[in-house]
Assembly symmetry: C2
Homo-oligomer: 312 residues x 2
């Protein structure tokens, strides 16, 4: 770590430092996987910690790169896990991508359709913005590639001439047929977007291929990189700010990953960043000289902030 870079302040167990930390912010942007839960397991004390923050007048916003769920589906997950929330405080990369397509990309006819690699969450959010799309969870694409596909994709007869954009997110049903369609659209000039480029997807206390791995075969075969809409992309920060009218100086990003969450907060010039050690990144990573991002604060786990309640 360079000498100009202050060490992150460790808050766990230090009640007065925790209270000072909380008082510095009005808004907490919270990553979900690795912070609130791992897969379907909610970390202990998280519900109480969120309630504590809200009881002190703080706004909580869940900012997640997972594109497999729409905001509505996320809300169901929150409710099912006993975490009070509402759709308005949920911000996923599928939503962020849809906003980007409808309000920034503004695809003009006749090339205004999106070819989707991903799960239902992306489709729901595209629909909510009135964007037409093909691919996604359509069973027509969940099958083996055939000699007729090779022929029709190569000569273009099986391609939809209205597709002007390929959007790739985490897809548990990724296959060669979908990748082949996407490759042909990209070779014919479609805009290349990714909901996010996370290298791994945390699940069941393990790591699985992330959304970035899904778009990598396309990056490798086209030589093009997608515009990524998830953290740490500032397109997502702009969308969050636009929606919540937040004061960046009074906002703190909370996450487990240096390369997405903490970098997102630092690049966005937020007042603070808080790393938790319940997910991907370890302390050694920000102590390394080539650290991708160094948080301003850290705790062992999010619920360590709950200790602040002791002094109330």
């Amino acid at each position: 770590m360079g000498s100009s870079m202050p060490s992150p302040k460790y808050l766990t167990g230090d009640v007065s430092a925790i209270n000072e930390f909380i008082d510095r912010f009005d808004v907490f942007l919270l990553d979900c996987d690795g912070v609130i839960w791992s897969g379907d397991h909610v970390f202990e004390g998280v519900v109480e910690t969120l309630e504590l923050l809200r009881s002190r007048g703080k706004k909580t916003v869940f900012v997640t790169n997972n594109s497999t769920k729409s905001r509505q589906e996320y809300l169901k997950k929150f409710t099912g896990l006993g975490i009070p929330s509402n759709v308005e405080e949920i911000f996923g990369s599928a939503y962020s991508s849809s906003i980007y397509i409808s309000r920034i990309l503004k695809l003009a006819p006749p090339k205004n359709k999106v070819f989707v690699i991903g799960e239902a969450g992306i489709e729901h959010e595209l629909k909510s913005e009135g964007i037409s799309f093909i691919g996604g969870t359509d069973p027509a694409y969940r099958r083996d590639i055939t000699p007729e596909d090779f022929k029709g994709l190569a000569d273009g007869s099986l391609l939809d001439p209205e597709v002007g954009c390929v959007l790739a997110g985490l897809d548990f049903h990724i296959n060669y047929l979908k990748l082949s369609h996407a490759l042909q659209y990209l070779r014919r000039g479609a805009v290349f977007l990714a909901t996010n480029v996370d290298s791994t997807f945390p699940m069941s206390h393990g790591f699985f291929p992330g959304a970035g791995g899904i778009s990598m075969p396309l990056v490798y075969s086209t030589g093009q990189k997608p515009v990524a809409l998830g953290k740490p992309s500032q397109a997502m920060m702009d969308a969050v700010e636009g929606k919540f009218q937040l004061d960046r100086e009074r906002t703190c990003m909370v996450g487990d990953r240096l390369d997405t969450d903490i970098k997102f907060g630092i690049d966005g010039k937020l007042g603070g960043t808080l790393a938790v050690l319940t997910g991907v990144s370890k302390k050694e990573q920000w102590e390394a000289t080539d650290a991708v991002a160094v948080p301003a604060y850290y705790v062992d786990k999010l619920s360590d902030l709950y200790a602040a309640a002791a002094r109330q």
Copy 2:
């Protein structure tokens, strides 16, 4: 192109130059896709050209990165397309990978099993070298991932403790379940091999995701690069040389790709390299100052060499 780098000699239409070229070599290593055929379409005049070379006492060896077929299956393809050949002159990346595993890697029990991502060609060649493997075309892996898979892969209970190597090749049945298995084995220390890392797979006069795209999600989620056994890897050249006892100075590599074929021949210090323009690479690519490799000779198509017969 640097001033020290001579321009490739263009042979098309120049009968005496073609005859001189042919006389310089005893062995021609030939790439298949984009040189001999594209998919199931044999380029015109190729059969006659191969016969011409053989009639002049030249040895022809087919060196291909395509791992989806075994040598036996390749022979069937050659025969079906009317190209006389035999198993001994076919050298594929699946065979090259199997040789590497059995004779160089020499996996020791109890970690001597290979997890395969790829098609039957790899399986056949692994069997021919007596290497045990799982994955590949096994229908048990050709399905959607389930919550039980996530759990069992994360805790390791669904993993085979004997797997010591992951071998990834082109797989038309690639899916999230296979990638997830491979990722867990790699995270637990398995050796990472790829039959080849071609960025695209030429088929039906079009381009599809290549074997490199199949291993890319694993590269991206592990941060590891595989040892690639196809061209331009010199592991493959060593295997070819070991088998055919060739004199490198009297050997010419013929191919359509600068980044695999031509580089393979140059790195292998062969006496010559011949580029054909019926496949991936275009003339502009070796004329660029940052060309990955520059051939010694080029023709529009392989059968242009057949013009040499005019002077016989």
